[in-house]
Symmetry: C2
Subunit: 369 residues, 2 copies
């Protein structure tokens, strides 16, 4: 049900183009997934997402568990039906949000007790609980419950790995639904031995896909590239690889060059809410007065609805007026930008031209620090 | 260019079905126009409006003059191009907003000086200024600058009428663009003699259409109906009649029965922002806990995108989570409801069945007070 087929591999890099079957459709990789935290990709109707060419969306277990509740979502026919998205969905395990969003949290070997960021109420997640919630939600791809440790504290990361690996085994044992793919998550911070150790353990369990967690959390770009370089030979080529939470354009390109197939990030919709647009090599802050009289579209070469219809001057006006349409139009553009980038990389891989494409694209971005 | 053709008139009432030519397309009347105050119908893309079947939108001169400025809109190719709406647009004169929104205002026979509700800066509108601004904006239908007085103060309304009529003559003299239709506005509060006197004066000037102003501003439903009944025989049958600012469903029906062709109102989008949905005979507040587990759509008989895809439980979740998609989906439904009502009335007029339709529809609403 979750067959992954490699269609083409790049000669000069680890990049691949693939095809992952899911119960709700095929993912053509490399693929970028926008995030629908609360069962909605912010400011986007499902029909808007289809029109953009979105194939996979991510939704957050932590948020949906707290509101509206995973039991309610199950009662309403599952997440696909609840949010009227009939394409593939991936849910995270809730672990990252427990560590990054909840008021207070107490971790032990069995799980995590935390306070809701909404009302301060107390809750407890364990590997078994995370899987049960994700089974109620009913996404196509579900994630193992893990700890995302501070990436540069060797001793902590090493201790945390033991826990994350034991939790993975409990997730595998707890999982019951055959129509969901459980992905394991490789942790290990910025340390080569820990990353390799984690990759060996996690990919030692036969799962339909593997994720790389704990990146894009404060480390440098160079550190991120190193981790991906170390992991590439250790992770099985025949399984999809998912780099969690990564969505800066240059990171997508660098990830694909290092063998990543799936990406997700809140960046395109978050930037939109802050009035910003992603264009090649730059972020435009539409609130800026220099756009007041600018009759040009965000990007004259972009084919998205926003760029085909509206000027920067209009977007500036909408942002200044706090109009909801600003969120809609900027989200449309920002998501399209990353989808189009993933599509272009896929085509370049198929055409054997990824090296040239990547070099051209990355020339618009600073050298990694 | 602004030919108005009566297609059918009802036998039992003053209702009519018509067709109004504009430079940006034909309006099939009765028609409801959603309001795009700041050059955007809140939370709606132009393509969403097209899909809903919107033919006319209203935009506000007061708001656009203050931000982004009518000169800028002209520089950007006019309002149609600026907001990417290629259908008919109507702009009001700014008068109503000056009286209802601005911080302080001082009215004299020549015009009104007022403070911006955005930054407190001082501005002055005169009939000539209002027309010049509306010519910069470039809507298909523009409105005469008038005063909307407190409707129940006879002496004030009578004095104000003199001013409104003199301002109308100045608007007619100031207007230069042949591709815009200037509508005059009948005022006169809730008083029969003043309304008739105003209608005679205003319709004595040959204009492509006439509006009825100063209603839905605090008078009772019965008073509104009386005013419409009095005006019906005085206003020329061969010209379109526009009832300004009216958008409650039962008011649309009562307006059509009394010969009104065009309506506009912020109600559908404002209700949406407050988490409410219009259904037959009722407003649903989606924030209400009773919708938490409600798997039904807002209205099982509605054909809008929202009702075809989403449950009340999902909308409840979106409203509680302050998600932008709540505004989008509720605005979609609320606008569709009024458009569909106008379409059904038009069909009923053409089929000679308006009396039955109106009686059935109004049976779901309280008797007018």
């Amino acid at each position: 049900m979750f067959e992954f087929e490699l269609i083409a591999t790049d000669h000069g890099s680890s990049a691949r183009a693939g095809r992952l079957q899911t119960p709700h459709g095929v993912l053509e990789t490399p693929v970028f997934a926008p995030v629908g935290t609360a069962a909605t990709v912010k400011a986007m109707k499902p029909s808007d997402l289809k029109e953009l060419g979105v194939s996979l969306i991510l939704s957050n277990t932590y948020h949906l568990y707290l509101r509206p509740g995973d039991e309610l979502v199950r009662e309403m026919g599952g997440l696909h039906r609840f949010m009227a998205w009939d394409g593939p969905i991936l849910t995270d395990s809730g672990g990252f949000q427990v560590f990054s969003l909840s008021e207070t949290r107490k971790i032990d070997e069995d799980g995590v007790t935390f306070q809701s960021h909404i009302d301060g109420s107390y809750h407890r997640f364990t590997p078994e609980r995370s899987i049960a919630i994700q089974e109620n939600l009913g996404a196509d791809i579900i994630m193992a419950f893990d700890e995302c440790p501070p990436p540069t504290d060797y001793d902590y990361v090493a201790r945390s790995l033991v826990r994350t690996h034991s939790w993975l085994e409990r997730c595998v044992a707890a999982k019951t639904r055959p129509d969901q793919a459980l992905f394991g998550i490789v942790q290990g911070g910025i340390f080569r031995d820990l990353r390799e150790q984690s990759a060996q353990f996690v990919t030692g369990i036969d799962l339909p896909g593997y994720a790389i967690g704990g990146l894009a959390v404060g480390e440098t770009k160079t550190q991120m590239h190193h981790v991906l370089d170390w992991l590439q030979p250790v992770m099985p080529a025949e399984k999809p690889r998912y780099l969690m939470g990564v969505g800066a354009p240059e990171d997508l390109v660098n990830g694909v060059l290092r063998g990543v197939d799936i990406f997700d990030c809140v960046l395109p919709t978050r930037l939109a809410r802050h009035g910003s647009a992603t264009v090649l090599g730059e972020r435009l802050n539409l609130r800026n007065a220099r756009f007041k009289n600018d009759a040009a579209p965000l990007d004259p070469n972009c084919g998205c609805y926003t760029c085909r219809h509206f000027s920067r001057a209009y977007l500036h006006h909408l942002v200044r007026s706090n109009e909801i349409l600003a969120h809609i139009l900027l989200s449309t553009h920002n998501i399209y930008f990353l989808l189009e980038l993933a599509r272009q990389m896929r085509e370049a891989i198929l055409a054997g031209e990824l090296a040239a494409f990547a070099a051209g694209f990355l020339s618009h971005y600073p050298e990694p620090d």
